[in-house]
Every structure is written in structure tokens, then in C-alpha cells.
């Protein structure tokens, strides 16, 4: 099952060239660019592993692409995403986040609805491999 998440979830996977251009945009805006990876794409899993520290003092996307390449090598069967954090006062949050990599064989995410009192519905997601 093709898992989608983040800013470009409606698009096909980005090529390296396209990823580089997004990073260029982030660096131009002085956003800190972080790389994160996980083997658990559960929608409630917000805590992915950080691949090193966020990068905020680079001039060129190549520096981030080098790290992404290292991350891919070390975690070939993981989801990898790029987050951009805007530290401007009043924003102070992640303003761009997109998947760059996904495992060859992706797990399935199953959703169960549970009817409860007063017609309310509970949703549970289970990641099945």
C-alpha cells in the first residue's frame, strides 16, 4: 500500500532534482532542514528518528543531499522525510514536510471503525506487514 504523508502527498514521489529544488527553497527562507526516518508509518507516529541535527547554516542544497544519501544507505528499508522548520517568531513550527523515500515493500495500514454510544465513531489504525 502506497503510504502518503506531508506537503506533496498528492504528487508522485519527487526525483532528487526536485528534492534539491525544495531544499534550495527552504535554505533561501532560512528554514532549518532536518532529515528523519522510520520503519513505522503509522499516522499517529509523529516521533521519527532524526538523522543528525537539523541543518540551518548551509548555502547549497548539496550539503543536505549528501546527508540524505548517507541516510538512505544506512536505512534502505525505511521511510525518509525532510522537514523544514521556520523559527520566525509566531511561526516556530515545521512549515514543510515531505517523504523522499519509501521501502520497496510497504506495509498495509488497516483502519477499523468502532460504533460507540450516541452514534460516535472511534478509529483505530493497524500497520500490517
Amino acid at each position: 500500500m502506497r503510504v502518503t504523508q506531508g506537503t506533496f502527498s498528492f504528487l508522485p514521489d519527487l526525483t532528487d532534482e526536485q528534492i534539491g529544488k525544495q531544499i534550495e527553497y527552504c535554505l533561501e527562507h532560512d528554514w532549518a532542514v532536518g532529515i528523519e526516518y522510520t520503519d513505522d508509518p503509522h499516522p499517529r507516529n509523529t516521533y521519527w528518528e532524526m538523522w543528525g541535527n537539523p541543518m540551518f547554516d548551509l548555502r547549497d542544497p548539496k550539503g543536505v543531499m549528501m546527508e540524505l544519501e548517507e541516510c538512505r544507505k544506512a536505512n534502505p528499508d525505511c521511510y525518509i522525510r525532510i522537514n523544514a522548520f521556520d523559527n520566525a517568531r509566531g511561526v516556530e513550527s515545521v512549515v514543510l514536510s515531505f517523504l523522499t523515500d519509501r521501502p520497496e515493500v510497504e506495509p498495509t495500514i488497516e483502519m477499523t471503525r468502532t460504533e460507540r454510544n450516541g452514534r460516535s465513531v472511534g478509529y483505530t489504525h493497524i500497520v500490517r506487514r
Binding site: 548551509l58 543531499m65 549528501m66
Partner: protein, 357 residues
């Protein structure tokens, strides 16, 4: 056709081409290279067309801003004729190289890594900064910033510390110029476990594989650099441009002092100029003489003395002339005239303290 080429160069200098800036996973033969080899094979078919294609070098020289940088170099740096000549030569070579690639006469990016050799304070760092701007305008580096480092920025303290440190620096330098001051300290043959070796290996690899991503300039004393190259032939073979920085003459140093003063809206009285001339002759014979840097430091100290003199002598309001004139007394108060160094701790007139690093 001609104008279009010129525009493409300046665009490449202002931003960058997408194909070059990404795709680290691809093998060294990049999109650009493939396109060029296609062009080269097209050359055999449509020779007529290519031969009639013309490139206006003078136009590109103007529009890319290369001319501007060279003029700036001429204006802002006193002396350094051999260096300026070499840089002009290199700029011409790179400009022609670009044109040759455009016409399908050559395909590869020329090697751009350089070595700047000379004594301290001869302008190596200053020129490297200009070189970065030049390479950027010529379209050989995407961003044109300079990241200046020494051994301590690259080499770690324990096992496993060096590679991440070196990579951190390389990441910052991507798209620009990495300036390694006193590069020979990376190599410490007396200690076979020295972590510098690890940094050297990473650097050599990047200098070979990321030729489109960054340019490395190694700087330092000529003799030590020569020894370094002899023990690390990998570096020598990757460096195409060797530029030597001569020591400044006394006259040049005086002109530099005037230039520095002018930059900050000061001027030297005729007596101060004479005093500075003497100062330069004396200072040169003392330890830790660092050419233009010693002069800049001397000027900074003279400025302090001038301020304190003006402040304690002022009997009423002072005018701009008083505030900006350096007098002979401001220079002659230096310990250098009494056989010491200005940076010595009080009462220790021998040169034991390094003036500057």
C-alpha cells in the same frame, strides 16, 4: 546566438543549473556531461553549423561581471602584480574553457583546485574571497561563498570524530570555495595514528568526485606546502593552479597603510607617514612580521593612541580634521621604536608573544 550565450552564462552565475545541484546518487557522469558528449558527436555531423557558431568573449567578460571583480581586485589590493596577472590569466582560461564546452570542443570541467603560497599577511585570504566571487560569476561554483578553515576545524580529538567534522565543513562549503589555511598541518608524519590522515582522504575524494560542487584552495608557506605536496602526491595532482604571493616591499606596505586609513576615513600627516616608513623598516626585522597584517595591526593601535591623545588634549569642541588625523606621535609611541613588539606584555621588550595568527 551570441547574446543568448552571454545571458546563459550570467544566469548560471546568478542562480545555478538544476541538473548540477542535485542527484548525488548519480555516477560522476552527469546530465551536463552527457549533453556535451551528444553535442560532440553532433559536431561530426553538422560541422558547418558549429563552425559558423560564434561566441563573443568580450561580451561575456562584461555581462558576467568578471570584469568587475578583476577591477575590484586591482583597486582594492595594492601591489601583488604577479598574483593579479595569474588571476587574470586563470579567468581568461576559464572563460575560454566555457566557450569551448559550449561549442562542443571540450567536455569536462577543468580542475579548479588551487594552492596559494606565501608568508603570512600577503593577501592570500583576501584574494581567495575575490577568487570565490570570480568563480561564481564564471559559473563554476553555484553560490560563491568562502568557507575558511584550519586543521582544528577538520580534524577531531578521538577515533570517529574526524569524519563527521570534515563532512560538516564540506556541507557548508558546497556550492562555494573551501579555503584551508596552513593545509600542511593536516599531515603529521611523526604520528602514524594522526587523525589528519582521515581528513586528507575525505578531502581527496571530494576534490575528485565533487568537482562541480566545490573548489578547494590550500594556503600556507611555500616551503612547507612543497613538503606537504611531496608526501601527499594526491593533492598535487588534483591542484591545477599554483599562485605565489610575494612579500610586500616597504613602499607597498606604506601604500597599504594609507589605503587602510582611507578605508576608515583617517589620514596620516606627512610626519606620521615618515614615522610609519621607519616603523615598517624596523618591524620587518623583528619576529612574527606578517606583512600587511602587521601594518593593519599597527594602524589599529595608532588609532587607539590617536583617540586617547585627541581626548586628553581637547580643550573645546573638535573638528573632523582633528578626529581623522593620525600624527607622528601616535606612531612613534610604539614599542617597536625601542626594540620591542607592540604586543609584548608591559616591560618585556623581547619578542616572545606571537603578534597575530
Amino acid at each position: 546566438m551570441v547574446a543568448q550565450w552571454g545571458i546563459r552564462i550570467s544566469c548560471a552565475a546568478k542562480s545555478h543549473s538544476g541538473a548540477q545541484q542535485v542527484a548525488p546518487s548519480r555516477p560522476p557522469a552527469r546530465d551536463g556531461a552527457t549533453a556535451h558528449s551528444e553535442k560532440a558527436s553532433a559536431l561530426t555531423d553538422t560541422t558547418d553549423q558549429t563552425q559558423s557558431q560564434k561566441i563573443d568573449l568580450a561580451e561575456i567578460f562584461q555581462s558576467s561581471g568578471v570584469k568587475e571583480v578583476l577591477e575590484e581586485l586591482d583597486r582594492e589590493l595594492i601591489g601583488l602584480k604577479p598574483v593579479k596577472d595569474r588571476i587574470r590569466e586563470t579567468a581568461a582560461f576559464l572563460l575560454v574553457q566555457k566557450a569551448r564546452v559550449e561549442l562542443g570542443l571540450s567536455q569536462e570541467t577543468p580542475t579548479l583546485h588551487m594552492s596559494f603560497t606565501g608568508n603570512p599577511g600577503t593577501g592570500k585570504t583576501t584574494v581567495a574571497l575575490k577568487m570565490a566571487g570570480l568563480l561564481h560569476r564564471l559559473g563554476y561554483v553555484r553560490k560563491g561563498h568562502l568557507v575558511s578553515v584550519t586543521r582544528d576545524d577538520l580534524v577531531g580529538q578521538y577515533i570517529g570524530h574526524t569524519a563527521p567534522k570534515t563532512k560538516e565543513v564540506l556541507k557548508k562549503a558546497m556550492g562555494g570555495v573551501l579555503f584551508i589555511d596552513e593545509a600542511y598541518y593536516l599531515y603529521r608524519p611523526e604520528n602514524e595514528r594522526d587523525y589528519g590522515q582521515e581528513a586528507i582522504e575525505i578531502l581527496l575524494q571530494v576534490m575528485e568526485n565533487n568537482r562541480d560542487d566545490l573548489v578547494v584552495i590550500l594556503a600556507g608557506y611555500a616551503d612547507r606546502m612543497e613538503t606537504f605536496f611531496r608526501s601527499n602526491p594526491g593533492f598535487r595532482s588534483r591542484i591545477a593552479h599554483h599562485i605565489e604571493f610575494p612579500d610586500y616591499t616597504d613602499e607597498e606596505l606604506l601604500a597599504i597603510a594609507e589605503h587602510i586609513a582611507e578605508e576608515q576615513n583617517y589620514h596620516l600627516s606627512p610626519d606620521a607617514e615618515a614615522a610609519l616608513s621607519e616603523y615598517i623598516t624596523l618591524r620587518r626585522k623583528q619576529p612574527h612580521f606578517a606583512n600587511a597584517r602587521s601594518i593593519r595591526n599597527a594602524f589599529d593601535r595608532a588609532r587607539l593612541r590617536q583617540a586617547s591623545r585627541v581626548f586628553s588634549n581637547a580643550k573645546g569642541p573638535v573638528d573632523a580634521h582633528t578626529l581623522s588625523t593620525i600624527e607622528a606621535a601616535d606612531i612613534r609611541a610604539s614599542r617597536v621604536f625601542r626594540g620591542g613588539l607592540d604586543s609584548d606584555p608591559k616591560g618585556m621588550p623581547t619578542g616572545s608573544v606571537k603578534e597575530d595568527t
